[in-house]
């Protein structure tokens, strides 16, 4: 009985030592989106990004929605035709949901201008395109 206890304890300790060596990704995977920005993009004064209202906004497997997405220069990979956040220009790409990447400056810090997510990469058509 004592040997069994020793065995189980030792196994448990060894597994605990080994288990934390693995970590899963902290950021959720990219999800596809497509849509048309409707208004001139809003510059985010703290985060140097652009907040853009899309409508219609097609997210994977859902009915058309409306809402804002954020373009972060350099971090968001731009693809042809590079007319990103220009109103009435078709956009297609992928976004990370729930990440707030547009922040505005206030008296003692910044606050988020909420969005559906941040674009991971995006390509565009030409303005007025379908």
């Amino acid at each position: 009985m004592k040997t069994a206890k020793t065995f189980i304890t030792l196994l448990f300790v060894l597994i605990i030592i080994v288990a934390p060596l693995r970590a899963d990704a902290l950021i959720p995977p990219l999800l596809p989106f497509g849509g048309w920005p409707d208004i001139i993009p809003i510059p985010c004064t703290c985060s140097a990004s652009l907040w853009s209202w899309f409508g219609p906004l097609y997210l994977a497997g859902s009915v058309p929605l409306t809402g804002p997405l954020v373009y972060v220069p350099y971090a968001t990979l731009p693809l042809a035709d590079f007319l990103i956040t220009i109103p009435a220009t078709p956009h297609l790409g992928a976004y990370i949901p729930g990440v707030q990447a547009c922040w505005m400056y206030a008296v003692f810090g910044c606050f988020p201008l909420p969005s559906i997510g941040v674009m991971g990469f995006v390509g565009t058509g030409l303005t007025g395109g379908i």
Partner: protein, 380 residues
């Protein structure tokens, strides 16, 4: 120690070693050398294409990519009398997904020194052009990666709009090893790599008021794996797993501190826009939103936000814009939706007419910014 115990210890150690080897061992590649089978290609046949390309990408390598025989169903373009779209008969299961290594083939009769472009759009955007071509030209485009919501688009300088939006996706007739992705620029990892190389900017501190030794979380861009966090005269080394957030313990001494970061990308310090925390034994808690009423609200409504830890003057930040210096009374804040900064612009969007849209809301009070966005619906 008994011999049996020693045996059991050795056995358990071996079991853990096997477990570790199984988890971390790099498995050998099973990639085979067979070429993928392209048996479901979309074929464009158009008349004269003599306008210049908008995109100036290099042409793809044209080897080892068979062309589809031009037998199929003709669809009239409607806009250009000489154009037809020919879809192989077997391609009758149209979907909105291009798979990696699907083949898009475009054939055109061009004038001398013309250009020929085709763009494959979707969650992957990909465009290919041939320049200075003449006569009968065929352009084969192997799709680089899986593309959701996919369709073919040619910009207006190349093809008439009426033949832009036809989709054919092949079935998975090729080996799964060809789906192995080698370029991670279109993945979350690629995004994180770009975030790490971005300009160092600090824009989020939570909470604003903190007890000595409490954990403060920073958000921004350009965070390296190892960063120096400066809190007044203190310096703390902190790691960032995702390139845009990190945490560190607040100093033990009370006071208000400027916070900035330095790393290989530079410094986040901007003297005109200081980022601060207050270390105090009695921190004001973060505001929380419990409810918004009415929900759904209409564009002209005054909404009441009920919650905790609001201060005398607050900032209300929503998907419709921002309102500053909003007073609270007894744990409630009242605002008229039409007064929010971008609300009137969004209301005037033709697509918004009659639509119900989820709106996210944050409150910034003396204690900082509410941790989670509160969602409510607005009927336009």
């Amino acid at each position: 120690m008994k011999r049996k115990t020693i045996f059991l210890l050795a056995a358990s150690f071996c079991a853990v070693l096997i477990l570790v080897a199984y988890v971390f061992w790099t498995r050998p590649s099973t990639k085979k050398t067979e070429l993928p089978i392209f048996d479901n290609c979309l074929v464009f046949q158009s008349g004269d294409v003599d306008k210049p390309c908008y995109i100036n990408n290099p042409s793809p390598v044209q080897t080892n990519i068979p062309t589809t025989k031009p037998s199929g169903v003709d669809l009239s373009s409607g806009e250009l009398a000489s154009s037809t779209i020919r879809i192989p008969i077997e391609c009758n299961g149209s979907t909105s997904v291009f798979e990696k290594n699907d083949c898009v083939t475009k054939t055109a009769i061009t004038k001398k020194d013309a250009s020929l472009c085709t763009m494959v759009s979707g969650s992957l955007a990909q465009s290919v052009c041939l320049r200075y071509v003449a006569g009968s030209v065929t352009l084969n485009i192997p799709v680089q990666n899986q593309s959701y919501d996919a369709f073919l688009r040619s910009n207006s300088s190349v093809l008439p709009s009426a033949i832009q939006n036809s989709v054919v996706s092949s079935s998975n007739t090729y080996l799964s090893s060809f789906l192995t992705q080698t370029d991670d620029s279109l993945t979350t990892n690629g995004f994180i790599k770009r975030l790490r190389k971005s300009s160092l900017v600090l824009f989020g501190i939570s909470p604003y008021q903190i007890e000595p030794g409490g954990i403060v979380t920073l958000q921004g861009t350009g965070f390296s794996e190892t960063n120096e966090v400066h809190v007044g005269g203190y310096m703390i080394t902190a790691t960032s797993d995702d390139g845009f957030s990190l945490s560190f313990p607040a100093p033990s001494s009370l006071g208000e501190y400027d916070v900035w970061i330095t790393n290989a990308n530079g410094s986040s310090q901007i003297s005109e826009r200081p980022m601060k925390i207050v270390v105090t034994t009695n921190p004001t808690p973060l505001p929380t939103v419990v409810s918004v009423s009415p929900n759904p609200a209409e564009y002209g409504d005054t909404i009441t936000v009920t919650g905790n830890n609001f201060s005398n003057k607050n900032i209300v930040s929503t998907s419709l814009g921002v309102m500053e210096n909003v007073t609270s009374s007894g744990g409630t804040i009242s605002i008229r939706l039409s007064d929010i900064s971008f609300a009137s612009q969004i209301k005037d969007i033709p697509y918004m007419k009659g639509r119900r849209t989820p709106i996210l809301l944050y409150i910034k009070s003396d204690g900082g910014v509410s941790k989670e966005a509160y969602s409510f619906d607005v009927q336009f």
